[in-house]
Subunit: 95 residues, 5 copies
Amino acid sequence: MLLGRVTGTVVASRKEPLMEGMTLLLIRQIDVDDSDQDGYVVAVDSVGAGVGEVVLYASGSSARQTALTKDRPCDAVIMAIVDTWEVDGDVVYSK
Amino acid sequence: MLLGRVTGTVVASRKEPLMEGMTLLLIRQIDVDDSDQDGYVVAVDSVGAGVGEVVLYASGSSARQTALTKDRPCDAVIMAIVDTWEVDGDVVYSK
Amino acid sequence: MLLGRVTGTVVASRKEPLMEGMTLLLIRQIDVDDSDQDGYVVAVDSVGAGVGEVVLYASGSSARQTALTKDRPCDAVIMAIVDTWEVDGDVVYSK
Amino acid sequence: MLLGRVTGTVVASRKEPLMEGMTLLLIRQIDVDDSDQDGYVVAVDSVGAGVGEVVLYASGSSARQTALTKDRPCDAVIMAIVDTWEVDGDVVYSK
Amino acid sequence: MLLGRVTGTVVASRKEPLMEGMTLLLIRQIDVDDSDQDGYVVAVDSVGAGVGEVVLYASGSSARQTALTKDRPCDAVIMAIVDTWEVDGDVVYSK
């Protein structure tokens, strides 16, 4: 899984029927020091994340292992909202 | 999923029989500010996208989760045409 | 899928029994302007491609969705020989 | 698999139910000379690794092949704690 | 598949039970001109490769398609020892 910050939403009215009702969030990848990285991903939200929150997302076939995304053409899913993380014993991020 | 702009078409008459009838589109990857990126991908179109449109595409095994691409040697599929997206509350792109 | 040019062959007499009889081709990745890129991949040929031809190849589990490669330890397969592609209405490559 | 050093922990109380009880560790990727690399990953721990230890982790669908992670939305798992490795006959790392 | 040179071994006594008995080799990625690249991978050996040999390895779920690695948390497998390869008609490498 990777860390990311929810930075926005994507709206797509014309889509694969299996993607109907999925919330699509724009995730900015962040580094372990909580700084923004260049990469981004559009992920389905399975946990009710909001803009500004730091999340964990899973990619590839693992993104289809939630009740919401099973058997859907989805390759990225937010599967956790991060409360805190530590590096070498120091708290780097706290919600 | 990633954002991309449909920039062209690929024609291949000699191909794996399972790929017969698939429309192959050339997708230029774009960044969240709507600028072109270096990467590209050739994706099967499952939603009737046209050249110039901004789309979302899924990669890997997730690209085989549409009715059209199931069990086919396809690793990228366009599964939505993007209407709009927002970053930090500002609309970055609107169709 | 990605575009590549067949640039050579790989011979490996000692291999996983499931790979016996597979033709292994060396593919140079190319960009949408038909220029060579740095990356390469060794792919199984499912369509009878020859050195110099431009092909499409699929990666990952999608590379095992041809009759030839099913259930084999193969993560890249040539699934089409490209005739032509267009970018923004201009033909970039024609066989 | 890739080599990494466990550098921290991630806490996420709100998450996909299937991820309940999983220990999430922050892994700094390391090179074969034991130096830190830029990349990181958050992986589920299936072997009881501790901060500071060098581990091997598997990514993608292979990360779901442990008893702990089966059918869960997890795309990285620590599946071994490294004792030692050699390059060209020289021991580079020893626990 | 990608080309690599076996450069060493990794020993891990504490590991996922499903990885018991697997030989873990350190593979330096090489380019098509036989030069070393920056990347590496730790792969399970299914063909009896030795240090110094050039091999082909498969990644992702394809790495679990050998009798040895089936259903194990392994994302890279050596599935062939390379005898020779040619680029544009010239032999680049011969064992």
